[in-house]
């Protein structure tokens, strides 16, 4: 049975091996350069200069490096879906479509064993492929992820490893995704008995799950931390030079946790209501409609020093920053929990396949 499964899977296995080899050679060609740039940037063991070092490191990256960085996430999103589509969905549906299951089920091997060997072997290949890809991407992208963490989030688009695109593409999570996508494809094939509809259903279902889980499930896998602190210190001001009109006031944010995965970040008033017209950036929270009474001394140098009566107005508002977040230290616990969930779901789908083929026999 193992031989037959391997013989049938051989073309796909060769395709996967070529894909892994291509990724490996690209990683080997560009990875060491990035790693040595990281070492040279002074980021390892940095203290006060981390943000500057990170900034320098990023400016030193080539366009190709950045393209590969984002491309690797795309690859890691696509790989499990492709394995579900092209390995999972046809695994049994193709046999039923072409009638070859009538050959397979009439050799001296029970249907259950046939199903289990096919599921196990090809499923293992899917997990191994995802594992190899994740290993390479994790290694290749780790200097960039580390730098993003040390930069404190000041470089837009580059996020620490706990944030969704990096979390989904690195660590052990892709193994779980691959196992699940594959099992989803097989199950769709068993239930629908036709390859193309099974592929369509697999693609849609997996895409929906990949959107829902990071947004709705992952934040609650471990109870998130809550942070709240007053903010009232203006550190910047946005003034129309011609009219002296204050367009916005920048307040320093008290929340500063490197590598944190911020789930929600709002400014609330003393009554607990969310303050509208706030733009929260890395550098601070900008009140785009300045509170009444905050005026700017005409002709003063740009900066918070030119604001008039503003501190007392802001202090009276009792504004607080309220953050729901997951600390960076939870990367591996969250990875393991999520992978475990996906593996359990995959095993459940495998059981559905075996039970379906045992019970509802297909002629």
């Amino acid at each position: 049975m193992i031989w037959l499964t391997w013989r049938q899977f051989r073309p796909q296995a060769i395709t996967a091996a070529i894909a892994v080899a291509v990724v490996a050679s690209v990683a080997a060609a560009t990875g060491p350069g990035i790693a040595s740039a990281y070492t040279a940037s002074g980021l390892p063991g940095c203290h006060a200069s981390c943000a500057t070092d990170a900034s320098n490191f990023f400016t030193g990256l080539s366009r190709l490096d950045l393209l590969l960085y984002f491309g690797s996430f795309l690859l890691m999103y696509l790989a499990p879906a492709l394995m579900g589509l092209f390995w999972g969905a046809p695994l049994i549906a193709r046999e039923v479509e072409t009638g070859t299951h009538r050959i397979a089920w009439n050799q001296s091997v029970t249907r259950t064993r046939w199903t289990l060997v096919k599921l196990g072997l090809v499923g293992l290949a899917a997990v191994a492929t995802a594992g190899l890809l994740s290993l390479m991407v994790t290694w290749w992208a780790s200097p960039i992820s580390h730098a993003a963490l040390l930069s404190g989030g000041q470089i837009s688009g580059l996020v620490p490893r706990l944030d969704p695109p990096v979390f989904d593409a690195t660590g052990v999570a892709p193994l779980g995704y691959a196992a699940f996508a594959f099992a989803l494809g097989v199950t769709a094939g068993v239930l629908l008995r036709r390859t193309l509809p099974a592929m369509a259903v697999t693609l849609v279902a997996f895409a929906v799950i990949q959107v829902l889980v990071p947004n709705l499930v992952r934040p609650h896998l471990l109870p998130p931390d809550h942070f709240t602190a007053p903010l009232h210190e203006p550190f910047g001001v946005n003034v129309n030079a011609a009219t002296g009109q204050v367009n916005g006031i920048g307040l320093a944010r008290p929340f500063a946790k490197p590598g944190a995965w911020v789930l929600s970040d709002v400014i609330v008033t003393s009554s607990g209501a969310q303050l509208p017209n706030v733009a929260i950036t890395f550098s601070g929270a900008e009140l785009t409609v300045p509170p009444k009474g905050c005026t700017f001394t005409s002709g003063a140098a740009a900066g918070p020093a030119g604001l008039h009566d503003c501190s007392s107005v802001l202090a009276a508002m009792h504004l607080r920053e309220s953050v729901t977040w997951q600390p960076a230290s939870r990367f591996w616990p969250l990875q393991c929990i999520e992978t475990g969930i996906y593996l359990v779901l995959a095993a459940g789908l495998g059981w559905v396949c075996v039970a379906q083929l045992r019970r509802r026999r297909t002629a």
Partner: protein, 298 residues
């Protein structure tokens, strides 16, 4: 032969939605025969065979194959060979791969037999099964089933899509195998002509029900074609009219009777297997007396 019966069905039925593909089928096909399963398209032949091979689960009743539940385990699977309708093959796998498949998946695999058969058929081992002709693919499927060394070989319309020469070759190979191996065979066809030369046991299936079954010799010995003047005499109770046809003065009856017909009013002729089956199928045959089948189940 360890079991006296090849296939035993009791009240066997299979329903798809509201339609019964096979209903209340009770039959006993003894082992040691080449049993022909005849019936028009849609009569339930494939359903019966799918139930007997465990490809389908029955809605009602039970079926036993060689005394065991179909496909109930590796041991049971090893005892039954199956050549499915349209003789499927793995298109991407070569002829040699198919033999390797058989060798890996069957404990009683006869590699020498398989090799000899492929050589005899002139099949190129490296050729992909997807490139084989219909006849070659059917032969490959038969080789796979025979080299498994089954006690019972079940074939579902194996020659329906073959040209006459391929049909003859296929049946020739099958009959040689039956002679060489201790093998019971159940073979289905919608055409009696395909089975007339090979089958020594017959099951006629019409409208998802068994119309008649029995050894061919016995069927021929117990059916008689009577010709005589119209309404000559009434028949004794032991004689059952299967079909009758009438002209102005003359009646022709196909009668089932275990005793010889001795009434001098009738001219008694031996019945051909074709006429017998056609009578039960409810068809008329050309070139022989016009016989109308009665809705009677033996």
């Amino acid at each position: 032969m360890t079991n006296a019966t090849a296939i035993e069905a009791r009240g066997l039925g299979k329903r798809y939605g509201r339609r019964w593909a096979l209903a209340d089928c009770t039959l006993t096909i003894p082992a040691g025969h080449v049993a022909g399963l005849v019936g028009p398209n849609g009569a339930g032949k494939t359903t019966l065979i799918s139930l007997a091979t465990g490809m389908l689960a029955p809605t009602t009743g039970t079926v036993e194959v060689l005394g065991g539940a179909p496909a109930s385990g590796p041991g049971q699977l090893a005892r039954v060979g199956y050549v499915a309708q349209d003789t499927p093959a793995y298109a991407a796998l070569s002829v040699a791969d198919h033999l390797r498949l058989g060798a890996r998946l069957n404990p009683r695999w006869d590699a020498a037999l398989a090799q000899a058969r492929i050589k005899e058929l002139g099949l190129e081992p490296r050729q992909k099964a997807g490139n084989l002709s219909g006849g070659q693919r059917a032969q490959l499927a038969l080789t796979l089933a025979l080299a498994k060394r089954p006690e019972l070989l079940i074939l579902d319309e194996p020659i329906a899509s073959l040209d006459p020469r391929a049909r003859r070759e296929f049946l020739q190979v099958l009959m040689n195998a039956v002679a060489e191996q201790e093998l019971s065979v159940v073979i289905s066809s919608h055409q009696l002509a395909d089975l007339e030369r090979v089958a020594d046991y017959l099951v006629v299936l019409v409208d998802s029900r068994v119309r008649i079954e029995g050894a061919v010799e016995h069927l021929l010995a117990t059916h008689h074609l009577l010709t005589g003047p119209r309404r000559a005499t009434s028949l004794p109770a032991s004689q059952q009219v299967v079909a009758e046809s009438h002209t102005g003065r003359q009646s022709t009856l196909l009668v089932r009777s275990s005793e010889p017909v001795i009434d001098p009013a009738w001219t008694v002729e031996e019945v051909s297997l074709e006429d017998l089956v056609l009578a039960y199928l409810g068809h008329t045959s050309t070139g022989s007396p016009d016989i109308r089948a009665l809705e009677a189940r033996p």
